[in-house]
Symmetry: C2
Subunit: 283 residues, 2 copies
């Protein structure tokens, strides 16, 4: 089936283009939005590596492009940046907008199995299958060079996408990721809705459980601020460190003194993450 | 009288701090907000030069800190960035929020003389007197090294602040500034309200008229995108170029092909502007 992509807006930026697009998603059963930064290298017809960024709770496909300050270095390194929205919106599911921790902008990058979420909240399939197909078709993307990173809920999303498809993504990193949704209130609440009450069904969507189960990914870079208000209750980086140590998974977990959970933190360390990805993707 | 400054929030960013503050303003007769980026150099007790940024219509003291991507290089160059809100808010003036071109977030950096605006909309006095006094008192600012720049309405604001105080600001620049409010719809509408119906009273607040009247400022850097939707009706850079040529005012006016009016444009050329200011402020 032909996919139709509608351009919402495009903006020149650091010699390339920030664009916003919408389309009818098969995976999510309705309209989805995403943004793409196409670096200047691609304007000469060169296919460039693709780096996916998965955003956190309450964000959209716009947040990263506005706040992360990533385009400058992506333009220099020749990386395409692809940013999906954090969930379907306006699905008609009752209470979809009632709680910022579940529903709209809280898709958690899983494929829901439970009513009423199952037909629409299939962000894992969207991010790993449908979106890459669209990008490969409509943008000058080198689809054999994919990396993935994200922030908070999206940091964990990047981890599970990579851990579930270990030979696919050549580079992985995260800013202040949720480490173990099965063991934090955000994850327990959302997974209980999307995947049902049995925690056994959650394990296939938890990074620490996937590591425990034998999944491995390229050397992982993680930054975490010490003044992050979600640090001890929700993010629990010690669980990720422990799981990586036990699994022999290479991890560079950097503790950043005084930084909080927001984009002033993310933007500060963005360059290090982009260089981490470029080293693997443009080698 | 003692000024009391209330911290709204502070965030570590590129080794320094982005902070948001509010206080009771004498110039504007009520609460005003501003933001400051304090670079890492100042944490060691060093006083650093101050660069004021004046934002455009509909923006606030947050816009620049979120969207402009300026902190990275300001941290490297050792510049403090001070960003006032674009007007008083919640003044109780009838219809203050009814029109994005006049009233809230449309202060135009003038001192209003007409009812009901005169007691509150005194952004020129705020930006050039009260705010610098606050900054000098509460932040490690080197107050003999001030520069000023801005975007759109704020680009023109930077021009008139500097032109009216020619020996004060050591460096001036603008992104897509309004060139001549007396000759564009935005300016005519706002000045008609704030300064009254007689255009003669507007001339003291128009950059091209101030140049014509003999005011001179340090060599001026201006960037202007070719796909800016406000270019021909509102901004009219040819009027600024003409006024500078006739006045012998040094101007570097750069036309940026394909760029629009937004912060994807501003952020792209931010580094050039910061270096322009640093050359004068840190010499």
């Amino acid at each position: 089936m032909e996919t139709t992509l509608q351009t919402v807006s495009e903006h020149a930026c650091f010699g390339g283009t920030v664009g916003f697009y919408k389309h009818t998603s098969q995976a999510c059963g309705g309209e989805m939005r995403f943004s793409v930064y196409v670096p200047p290298q691609a304007r000469a017809g060169t296919q460039v590596p693709v780096l996916y960024y998965l955003s956190g709770l309450s964000c959209s496909e716009e947040t990263f492009q506005i706040k992360a300050g990533a385009q400058r270095l992506a333009a220099e390194l020749g990386l395409m940046l692809v940013v999906p929205d954090t969930s379907p919106r306006h699905t008609g599911i009752p209470q979809e907008d009632a709680d910022w921790e579940v529903g709209t902008a809280a898709g958690f990058y899983v494929d829901a199995t439970q009513a009423p979420w199952a037909p629409r909240f299939r962000m894992y399939s969207y991010v790993t299958q449908e979106l890459p197909e669209l990008v490969g078709k409509h943008f000058p993307a080198r689809m054999d060079r994919e990396g993935i990173f994200g922030h908070s809920m999206g940091g964990h999303g990047a981890l599970i996408c990579a851990l579930r498809q270990p030979d696919r993504y050549r580079s992985v990193s995260a800013f202040a990721p949720i480490s173990a949704p099965v063991r934090c209130p955000w994850g327990q609440k959302a997974f209980g809705k999307y995947l049902g009450p049995d925690p056994e069904a959650w394990r296939a969507w938890d990074a620490t459980e996937l590591l425990r189960g034998g999944a491995r990914i390229p050397p992982l870079l993680v930054d975490q601020g010490t003044r992050d208000k979600f640090l001890t209750e929700q993010l629990k980086p010690e669980l990720l460190r422990q799981a990586c140590e036990q699994a022999g998974q290479p991890l560079t977990l950097r503790t950043q003194d005084g930084y909080d959970h927001g984009y002033y933190f993310v933007s500060t360390f963005m360059a290090d993450h982009l260089r981490h990805h470029a080293a693997a993707l443009t080698a």
